[in-house]
Protein backbone atom coordinates (compact mmCIF):
# COMPACT_ATOMS: atom_id res chain seq x y z
CA UNK A 1 0.00 0.00 0.00
CA UNK A 2 1.37 3.37 -1.01
CA UNK A 3 0.73 6.17 1.44
CA UNK A 4 1.95 9.75 1.12
CA UNK A 5 3.79 11.29 4.06
CA UNK A 6 1.63 13.54 6.21
CA UNK A 7 0.95 17.05 4.97
CA UNK A 8 -1.37 19.96 5.64
CA UNK A 9 -4.18 20.73 3.25
CA UNK A 10 -5.51 24.14 2.31
CA UNK A 11 -8.35 24.77 -0.11
CA UNK A 12 -7.62 28.00 -1.97
CA UNK A 13 -10.71 30.20 -2.28
CA UNK A 14 -9.46 32.16 -5.30
CA UNK A 15 -6.25 33.14 -7.11
CA UNK A 16 -5.23 35.81 -4.61
CA UNK A 17 -5.94 33.39 -1.79
CA UNK A 18 -3.90 30.63 -3.43
CA UNK A 19 -0.90 32.95 -3.89
CA UNK A 20 -1.15 34.11 -0.28
CA UNK A 21 -1.28 30.49 0.96
CA UNK A 22 1.75 29.50 -1.15
CA UNK A 23 3.71 32.49 0.16
CA UNK A 24 2.71 31.82 3.77
CA UNK A 25 3.63 28.12 3.71
CA UNK A 26 6.97 28.62 1.99
CA UNK A 27 8.97 26.60 -0.55
CA UNK A 28 7.90 23.17 0.75
CA UNK A 29 4.24 23.83 -0.04
CA UNK A 30 2.93 22.73 -3.43
CA UNK A 31 -0.17 23.64 -5.39
CA UNK A 32 -2.28 20.66 -6.40
CA UNK A 33 -4.46 20.69 -9.52
CA UNK A 34 -5.47 17.32 -10.98
CA UNK A 35 -2.89 15.65 -8.80
CA UNK A 36 -2.26 12.85 -11.28
CA UNK A 37 1.48 13.48 -11.34
CA UNK A 38 1.95 14.87 -7.84
CA UNK A 39 -0.02 12.27 -5.85
CA UNK A 40 1.79 9.28 -7.42
CA UNK A 41 5.09 11.01 -6.63
CA UNK A 42 3.95 11.63 -3.06
CA UNK A 43 2.93 7.99 -2.68
CA UNK A 44 6.45 6.98 -3.71
CA UNK A 45 7.86 9.67 -1.39
CA UNK A 46 9.61 11.25 -4.35
CA UNK A 47 7.75 14.41 -3.34
CA UNK A 48 7.03 15.30 0.26
CA UNK A 49 5.31 18.68 0.34
CA UNK A 50 4.49 19.91 3.83
CA UNK A 51 1.30 21.59 2.64
CA UNK A 52 -0.89 21.11 -0.43
CA UNK A 53 -2.72 24.16 -1.70
CA UNK A 54 -5.73 22.87 -3.64
CA UNK A 55 -6.43 25.13 -6.63
CA UNK A 56 -9.34 23.11 -8.04
CA UNK A 57 -11.80 25.78 -6.94
CA UNK A 58 -10.13 28.54 -8.97
CA UNK A 59 -12.74 29.04 -11.68
CA UNK A 60 -10.77 32.02 -13.03
CA UNK A 61 -8.16 29.50 -14.22
CA UNK A 62 -10.64 27.70 -16.49
CA UNK A 63 -11.74 28.02 -20.08
CA UNK A 64 -10.37 27.82 -23.61
CA UNK A 65 -11.02 31.16 -25.29
CA UNK A 66 -10.07 32.97 -28.47
CA UNK A 67 -8.37 36.18 -27.40
CA UNK A 68 -7.53 38.29 -30.48
CA UNK A 69 -4.98 36.37 -32.55
CA UNK A 70 -4.25 33.91 -29.76
CA UNK A 71 -6.02 31.10 -27.95
CA UNK A 72 -5.91 31.20 -24.17
CA UNK A 73 -5.95 28.03 -22.10
CA UNK A 74 -6.66 28.52 -18.42
CA UNK A 75 -4.14 26.55 -16.38
CA UNK A 76 -6.90 24.45 -14.80
CA UNK A 77 -8.31 23.30 -18.15
CA UNK A 78 -8.45 19.49 -18.01
CA UNK A 79 -7.01 17.33 -20.76
CA UNK A 80 -10.53 16.09 -21.54
CA UNK A 81 -11.67 19.67 -22.21
CA UNK A 82 -8.80 20.22 -24.65
CA UNK A 83 -9.77 17.05 -26.48
CA UNK A 84 -13.44 18.09 -26.69
CA UNK A 85 -12.83 21.72 -27.61
CA UNK A 86 -14.19 22.93 -30.96
CA UNK A 87 -11.71 25.84 -30.90
CA UNK A 88 -8.82 23.39 -30.55
CA UNK A 89 -10.19 21.13 -33.28
CA UNK A 90 -10.41 24.09 -35.65
CA UNK A 91 -7.14 25.88 -34.93
CA UNK A 92 -4.78 23.54 -33.09
CA UNK A 93 -5.18 19.95 -34.30
CA UNK A 94 -1.73 19.15 -32.84
CA UNK A 95 -3.26 19.43 -29.36
CA UNK A 96 -6.14 17.16 -30.30
CA UNK A 97 -3.69 14.60 -31.71
CA UNK A 98 -1.59 14.84 -28.55
CA UNK A 99 -4.50 14.63 -26.13
CA UNK A 100 -5.76 11.45 -27.76
CA UNK A 101 -2.54 9.73 -26.67
CA UNK A 102 -1.98 11.37 -23.28
CA UNK A 103 -2.57 8.76 -20.56
CA UNK A 104 -6.17 7.49 -20.69
CA UNK A 105 -9.66 9.05 -20.58
CA UNK A 106 -9.95 8.77 -16.79
CA UNK A 107 -6.61 10.46 -16.18
CA UNK A 108 -7.54 13.09 -18.76
CA UNK A 109 -10.65 13.86 -16.72
CA UNK A 110 -8.41 15.10 -13.89
CA UNK A 111 -5.03 16.16 -15.31
CA UNK A 112 -4.65 19.81 -16.30
CA UNK A 113 -2.79 21.87 -18.88
CA UNK A 114 -0.92 23.89 -16.24
CA UNK A 115 -0.10 20.84 -14.18
CA UNK A 116 1.35 19.03 -17.18
CA UNK A 117 3.67 21.91 -17.99
CA UNK A 118 4.70 22.40 -14.35
CA UNK A 119 5.46 18.72 -13.84
CA UNK A 120 8.14 19.21 -16.53
CA UNK A 121 8.46 15.51 -17.17
CA UNK A 122 10.87 15.04 -20.11
CA UNK A 123 8.35 12.66 -21.71
CA UNK A 124 5.34 14.93 -21.33
CA UNK A 125 3.43 15.41 -24.57
CA UNK A 126 1.77 18.81 -24.07
CA UNK A 127 5.16 20.38 -23.36
CA UNK A 128 6.38 19.22 -26.76
CA UNK A 129 3.18 20.30 -28.48
CA UNK A 130 3.17 23.76 -26.87
CA UNK A 131 6.86 24.17 -27.73
CA UNK A 132 6.13 23.35 -31.36
CA UNK A 133 3.31 25.93 -31.27
CA UNK A 134 5.55 28.63 -29.79
CA UNK A 135 3.19 29.11 -26.85
CA UNK A 136 3.64 31.57 -24.00
CA UNK A 137 3.11 30.69 -20.35
CA UNK A 138 1.45 33.24 -18.07
CA UNK A 139 2.82 33.12 -14.53
CA UNK A 140 1.13 35.05 -11.73
CA UNK A 141 2.56 36.15 -8.42
CA UNK A 142 1.34 38.58 -5.78
CA UNK A 143 3.25 41.27 -7.73
CA UNK A 144 1.28 40.63 -10.91
CA UNK A 145 1.65 38.70 -14.15
CA UNK A 146 4.68 37.87 -16.21
CA UNK A 147 4.96 35.85 -19.38
CA UNK A 148 7.62 33.31 -20.31
CA UNK A 149 7.96 31.70 -23.74
CA UNK A 150 7.32 27.98 -23.28
CA UNK A 151 10.77 27.37 -24.80
CA UNK A 152 12.29 29.10 -21.77
CA UNK A 153 9.85 27.68 -19.26
CA UNK A 154 11.49 24.31 -18.65
CA UNK A 155 14.82 24.53 -16.85
CA UNK A 156 15.46 20.81 -17.01
CA UNK A 157 13.75 17.62 -15.90
CA UNK A 158 11.09 18.47 -13.27
CA UNK A 159 12.30 22.09 -13.08
CA UNK A 160 10.51 25.15 -14.39
CA UNK A 161 10.68 28.95 -14.29
CA UNK A 162 7.88 29.04 -11.70
CA UNK A 163 8.91 30.18 -8.21
CA UNK A 164 7.36 28.53 -5.14
CA UNK A 165 5.01 31.47 -4.51
CA UNK A 166 3.87 31.77 -8.12
CA UNK A 167 1.25 29.93 -10.18
CA UNK A 168 0.95 29.23 -13.86
CA UNK A 169 -2.41 30.76 -14.67
CA UNK A 170 -2.69 30.41 -18.45
CA UNK A 171 -1.03 29.32 -21.66
CA UNK A 172 -1.39 31.45 -24.78
CA UNK A 173 -0.99 30.01 -28.26
CA UNK A 174 -0.76 32.26 -31.32
CA UNK A 175 -3.15 31.60 -34.22
CA UNK A 176 -1.15 31.72 -37.45
CA UNK A 177 -2.58 31.92 -40.99
CA UNK A 178 -2.01 29.12 -43.55
CA UNK A 179 -0.79 26.88 -40.77
CA UNK A 180 -1.37 23.23 -39.99
CA UNK A 181 -0.18 21.03 -37.15
CA UNK A 182 0.01 17.40 -36.08
CA UNK A 183 1.33 15.17 -33.30
CA UNK A 184 2.29 11.54 -33.21
CA UNK A 185 3.63 9.27 -30.52
CA UNK A 186 4.92 5.73 -30.32
CA UNK A 187 4.10 4.04 -27.03
CA UNK A 188 4.51 0.50 -25.78
CA UNK A 189 0.85 0.24 -24.88
CA UNK A 190 -2.18 2.52 -24.78
CA UNK A 191 -1.81 5.25 -22.17
CA UNK A 192 1.91 4.79 -21.57
CA UNK A 193 4.56 7.46 -21.71
CA UNK A 194 6.14 7.92 -25.15
CA UNK A 195 9.03 5.85 -26.44
CA UNK A 196 9.38 8.89 -28.67
CA UNK A 197 6.92 11.55 -29.84
CA UNK A 198 6.99 14.46 -32.25
CA UNK A 199 4.75 17.38 -33.07
CA UNK A 200 4.97 19.73 -36.04
CA UNK A 201 3.46 23.13 -36.81
CA UNK A 202 3.98 24.17 -40.42
CA UNK A 203 3.11 27.56 -41.95
CA UNK A 204 3.03 27.75 -45.73
CA UNK A 205 3.26 30.43 -48.38
CA UNK A 206 2.18 28.54 -51.47
CA UNK A 207 4.46 25.52 -51.55
CA UNK A 208 7.14 27.06 -49.35
CA UNK A 209 7.51 26.51 -45.63
CA UNK A 210 7.77 29.96 -44.05
CA UNK A 211 7.84 28.74 -40.46
CA UNK A 212 8.14 25.37 -38.81
CA UNK A 213 7.84 24.48 -35.14
CA UNK A 214 8.95 20.98 -34.20
CA UNK A 215 8.51 19.59 -30.71
CA UNK A 216 9.94 16.34 -29.38
CA UNK A 217 9.11 14.42 -26.21
CA UNK A 218 11.01 11.66 -24.40
CA UNK A 219 14.20 11.94 -26.46
CA UNK A 220 16.26 14.47 -24.52
CA UNK A 221 15.57 17.45 -26.79
CA UNK A 222 16.42 20.68 -25.01
CA UNK A 223 13.22 22.62 -24.26
CA UNK A 224 11.34 19.86 -26.15
CA UNK A 225 12.44 21.46 -29.45
CA UNK A 226 14.21 20.27 -32.61
CA UNK A 227 15.70 23.69 -33.39
CA UNK A 228 18.11 22.56 -36.15
CA UNK A 229 15.31 20.80 -38.02
CA UNK A 230 13.10 23.89 -37.75
CA UNK A 231 15.89 26.02 -39.17
CA UNK A 232 16.44 23.61 -42.06
CA UNK A 233 12.77 23.77 -43.02
CA UNK A 234 12.51 27.54 -43.11
CA UNK A 235 12.23 28.56 -46.77
CA UNK A 236 12.31 24.96 -47.96
CA UNK A 237 9.73 23.54 -50.36
CA UNK A 238 6.94 21.66 -48.59
CA UNK A 239 7.91 18.29 -50.04
CA UNK A 240 8.37 14.77 -48.69
CA UNK A 241 12.13 15.19 -49.24
CA UNK A 242 12.29 18.35 -47.10
CA UNK A 243 10.32 16.69 -44.32
CA UNK A 244 12.44 13.54 -44.42
CA UNK A 245 15.54 15.72 -44.18
CA UNK A 246 14.04 17.57 -41.19
CA UNK A 247 13.44 14.19 -39.57
CA UNK A 248 17.01 13.12 -40.23
CA UNK A 249 18.36 16.33 -38.67
CA UNK A 250 16.05 16.05 -35.65
CA UNK A 251 17.11 12.43 -35.11
CA UNK A 252 20.76 13.43 -35.26
CA UNK A 253 20.50 16.32 -32.78
CA UNK A 254 18.21 14.88 -30.11
CA UNK A 255 19.78 13.07 -27.17
CA UNK A 256 17.72 10.02 -26.23
CA UNK A 257 18.90 7.64 -23.55
CA UNK A 258 18.50 3.88 -23.51
CA UNK A 259 15.92 2.64 -21.01
CA UNK A 260 13.23 -0.01 -20.69
CA UNK A 261 11.37 1.68 -23.55
CA UNK A 262 14.14 1.06 -26.05
CA UNK A 263 17.72 1.64 -27.17
CA UNK A 264 19.10 4.92 -28.47
CA UNK A 265 19.23 4.00 -32.16
CA UNK A 266 15.58 2.88 -32.10
CA UNK A 267 14.49 6.16 -30.53
CA UNK A 268 16.46 8.17 -33.08
CA UNK A 269 14.84 6.14 -35.82
CA UNK A 270 11.41 6.95 -34.40
CA UNK A 271 12.23 10.66 -34.24
CA UNK A 272 13.18 10.64 -37.92
CA UNK A 273 9.97 8.92 -38.96
CA UNK A 274 7.66 10.85 -36.62
CA UNK A 275 9.05 14.27 -37.55
CA UNK A 276 8.68 13.53 -41.26
CA UNK A 277 5.15 12.19 -40.77
CA UNK A 278 3.90 15.01 -38.59
CA UNK A 279 5.42 17.67 -40.90
CA UNK A 280 3.70 16.01 -43.83
CA UNK A 281 0.34 15.91 -42.07
CA UNK A 282 0.76 19.45 -40.75
CA UNK A 283 1.44 20.74 -44.27
CA UNK A 284 -1.58 18.86 -45.62
CA UNK A 285 -3.71 20.43 -42.90
CA UNK A 286 -2.26 23.87 -43.70
CA UNK A 287 -3.47 23.35 -47.26
CA UNK A 288 -6.89 22.34 -45.95
CA UNK A 289 -6.55 18.80 -47.29
CA UNK A 290 -7.31 16.90 -44.08
Amino acid sequence: MQVPATFGYELAPDLAGALALLARHGPDARPIAGGHSLLPMMKLRLAEPTVLVDINGLTELGGITVDGDAIRFGAMVRHAEVLDSAVVAEHLPILRDAERVIADPLVRNRGTVGGSLCQADPSEDLSAAFSALGATVVITSRDGERTVPVREFHRGPYETAVAHDELVTAVRVPIRPATGSAYEKVERRTGDWAVAAAGAVVSLDGHTVVRAGIGLAAVGAEHFVAAEAEEALRGAPATAESFAEAGRIAAEHCRPTADQRGPVDYKRHLVGVLVARTCHRAAARARGEV
Binding site: T6, Y9, H36, L39, P40, D104, P105, R110, G191
Partner: protein, 166 residues
Protein backbone atom coordinates in the same frame (compact mmCIF):
# COMPACT_ATOMS: atom_id res chain seq x y z
CA UNK B 1 -10.12 17.60 8.82
CA UNK B 2 -13.88 17.26 8.54
CA UNK B 3 -15.33 16.59 5.11
CA UNK B 4 -18.88 16.17 3.89
CA UNK B 5 -19.42 14.10 0.76
CA UNK B 6 -22.65 13.01 -0.88
CA UNK B 7 -22.04 9.33 -1.55
CA UNK B 8 -24.68 7.58 -3.65
CA UNK B 9 -27.13 10.30 -2.70
CA UNK B 10 -26.48 10.10 1.04
CA UNK B 11 -24.62 12.92 2.77
CA UNK B 12 -21.83 11.65 5.01
CA UNK B 13 -19.52 13.66 7.26
CA UNK B 14 -16.25 12.23 8.53
CA UNK B 15 -13.04 13.44 10.09
CA UNK B 16 -10.14 12.35 7.86
CA UNK B 17 -6.43 12.85 7.41
CA UNK B 18 -5.55 14.97 4.36
CA UNK B 19 -3.44 12.11 2.98
CA UNK B 20 -6.38 9.68 2.92
CA UNK B 21 -7.15 8.60 -0.63
CA UNK B 22 -10.74 8.58 -1.84
CA UNK B 23 -10.56 4.80 -2.45
CA UNK B 24 -9.71 4.15 1.18
CA UNK B 25 -12.27 6.67 2.38
CA UNK B 26 -14.96 4.73 0.53
CA UNK B 27 -13.70 1.25 1.40
CA UNK B 28 -12.37 1.63 4.94
CA UNK B 29 -14.33 4.53 6.39
CA UNK B 30 -17.69 3.97 4.69
CA UNK B 31 -17.27 0.19 4.20
CA UNK B 32 -18.31 0.54 0.57
CA UNK B 33 -16.01 -2.20 -0.68
CA UNK B 34 -17.60 -2.42 -4.10
CA UNK B 35 -15.00 0.07 -5.27
CA UNK B 36 -11.95 -2.11 -5.74
CA UNK B 37 -8.43 -1.19 -4.84
CA UNK B 38 -6.07 -2.55 -7.45
CA UNK B 39 -2.77 -1.23 -8.67
CA UNK B 40 -2.58 1.91 -6.51
CA UNK B 41 -0.71 3.61 -9.39
CA UNK B 42 -3.50 5.14 -11.55
CA UNK B 43 -3.09 2.33 -14.05
CA UNK B 44 -5.75 -0.37 -13.65
CA UNK B 45 -8.95 1.62 -13.13
CA UNK B 46 -10.52 -0.89 -10.72
CA UNK B 47 -11.07 1.99 -8.27
CA UNK B 48 -13.04 4.14 -10.72
CA UNK B 49 -15.91 6.12 -9.21
CA UNK B 50 -17.80 9.18 -10.42
CA UNK B 51 -16.83 12.48 -8.87
CA UNK B 52 -19.54 15.04 -9.62
CA UNK B 53 -20.55 12.74 -12.47
CA UNK B 54 -17.08 12.42 -14.00
CA UNK B 55 -15.38 9.02 -13.85
CA UNK B 56 -12.02 9.22 -12.02
CA UNK B 57 -9.51 6.82 -10.53
CA UNK B 58 -10.14 7.18 -6.81
CA UNK B 59 -6.65 5.95 -5.83
CA UNK B 60 -5.35 9.26 -7.18
CA UNK B 61 -7.84 11.63 -5.59
CA UNK B 62 -7.57 12.77 -1.99
CA UNK B 63 -10.73 12.32 0.05
CA UNK B 64 -10.44 15.96 1.11
CA UNK B 65 -10.61 16.95 -2.56
CA UNK B 66 -14.07 15.40 -2.66
CA UNK B 67 -15.33 17.63 0.17
CA UNK B 68 -18.66 19.09 -0.90
CA UNK B 69 -18.79 16.88 -3.99
CA UNK B 70 -21.05 14.08 -5.14
CA UNK B 71 -19.42 10.66 -5.34
CA UNK B 72 -21.17 7.73 -7.00
CA UNK B 73 -19.92 4.19 -6.56
CA UNK B 74 -21.02 0.84 -7.93
CA UNK B 75 -23.22 0.36 -4.86
CA UNK B 76 -25.43 3.19 -6.09
CA UNK B 77 -26.01 1.83 -9.60
CA UNK B 78 -28.91 -0.53 -8.98
CA UNK B 79 -32.31 0.91 -8.04
CA UNK B 80 -33.04 -1.94 -5.62
CA UNK B 81 -32.28 -5.51 -4.66
CA UNK B 82 -34.20 -7.36 -7.41
CA UNK B 83 -32.45 -8.43 -10.60
CA UNK B 84 -34.76 -6.20 -12.60
CA UNK B 85 -33.58 -3.24 -10.52
CA UNK B 86 -30.06 -3.54 -11.90
CA UNK B 87 -28.80 -0.72 -14.08
CA UNK B 88 -28.97 -1.67 -17.80
CA UNK B 89 -25.15 -1.72 -17.85
CA UNK B 90 -25.14 -4.27 -15.04
CA UNK B 91 -27.78 -6.29 -16.87
CA UNK B 92 -25.63 -6.15 -19.98
CA UNK B 93 -22.65 -7.55 -18.10
CA UNK B 94 -24.86 -10.39 -16.86
CA UNK B 95 -26.42 -11.09 -20.26
CA UNK B 96 -23.13 -10.96 -22.21
CA UNK B 97 -20.85 -12.56 -19.62
CA UNK B 98 -18.92 -9.27 -19.32
CA UNK B 99 -16.88 -10.54 -16.39
CA UNK B 100 -15.13 -13.60 -15.12
CA UNK B 101 -13.26 -12.86 -11.89
CA UNK B 102 -15.10 -9.56 -11.51
CA UNK B 103 -12.26 -7.55 -10.03
CA UNK B 104 -12.31 -4.86 -12.72
CA UNK B 105 -16.11 -4.86 -13.03
CA UNK B 106 -17.07 -2.06 -10.60
CA UNK B 107 -14.72 0.33 -12.40
CA UNK B 108 -15.86 -0.86 -15.81
CA UNK B 109 -19.50 -0.33 -14.81
CA UNK B 110 -18.91 3.21 -13.55
CA UNK B 111 -16.97 4.26 -16.66
CA UNK B 112 -19.38 2.74 -19.13
CA UNK B 113 -22.43 4.12 -17.28
CA UNK B 114 -20.82 7.57 -17.61
CA UNK B 115 -20.13 6.87 -21.29
CA UNK B 116 -23.77 5.97 -22.00
CA UNK B 117 -24.97 9.06 -20.13
CA UNK B 118 -22.90 11.12 -22.55
CA UNK B 119 -23.20 9.03 -25.70
CA UNK B 120 -26.25 6.73 -25.71
CA UNK B 121 -25.17 4.91 -28.89
CA UNK B 122 -21.38 4.43 -28.75
CA UNK B 123 -19.59 2.38 -31.40
CA UNK B 124 -17.43 -0.55 -30.26
CA UNK B 125 -14.37 1.65 -30.97
CA UNK B 126 -15.76 4.42 -28.75
CA UNK B 127 -16.41 1.90 -25.96
CA UNK B 128 -12.86 0.55 -26.24
CA UNK B 129 -11.49 4.10 -26.08
CA UNK B 130 -13.62 4.86 -23.00
CA UNK B 131 -12.32 1.82 -21.10
CA UNK B 132 -8.73 2.14 -22.34
CA UNK B 133 -7.62 3.25 -18.88
CA UNK B 134 -8.91 0.08 -17.30
CA UNK B 135 -7.38 -3.35 -17.23
CA UNK B 136 -9.29 -6.61 -17.45
CA UNK B 137 -7.19 -9.76 -17.45
CA UNK B 138 -10.03 -12.23 -17.99
CA UNK B 139 -12.33 -11.29 -20.84
CA UNK B 140 -10.04 -9.92 -23.52
CA UNK B 141 -12.54 -7.01 -23.43
CA UNK B 142 -14.76 -8.59 -26.14
CA UNK B 143 -17.61 -9.38 -23.80
CA UNK B 144 -17.30 -6.07 -21.99
CA UNK B 145 -17.78 -4.23 -25.28
CA UNK B 146 -20.76 -6.49 -26.08
CA UNK B 147 -22.22 -5.85 -22.64
CA UNK B 148 -22.09 -2.08 -23.12
CA UNK B 149 -23.63 -2.38 -26.59
CA UNK B 150 -26.34 -4.59 -25.04
CA UNK B 151 -27.06 -1.86 -22.48
CA UNK B 152 -27.10 0.87 -25.12
CA UNK B 153 -29.59 -1.07 -27.22
CA UNK B 154 -31.74 -1.95 -24.22
CA UNK B 155 -31.91 1.69 -23.17
CA UNK B 156 -32.75 2.85 -26.68
CA UNK B 157 -35.45 0.22 -26.95
CA UNK B 158 -36.87 1.30 -23.60
CA UNK B 159 -36.85 4.94 -24.72
CA UNK B 160 -38.68 4.05 -27.97
CA UNK B 161 -41.25 1.93 -26.10
CA UNK B 162 -41.90 4.79 -23.70
CA UNK B 163 -42.37 7.13 -26.64
CA UNK B 164 -44.80 4.77 -28.36
CA UNK B 165 -46.73 4.30 -25.13
CA UNK B 166 -47.29 8.02 -24.97
Amino acid sequence: MEITVTVNGREVTRDVEPRLLLTHFLRDHLRLTGTHWGCDTTTCGACTVRLDGVPVKSCTVLAVMADGARVDTVEGLAAGMAETDLDPVQQGFVACHGLQCGFCTPGMLMTTRALLDRDPDPSPATIREAISGQICRCTGYENIVRAVRWAAEAEQQAATTTEVAR
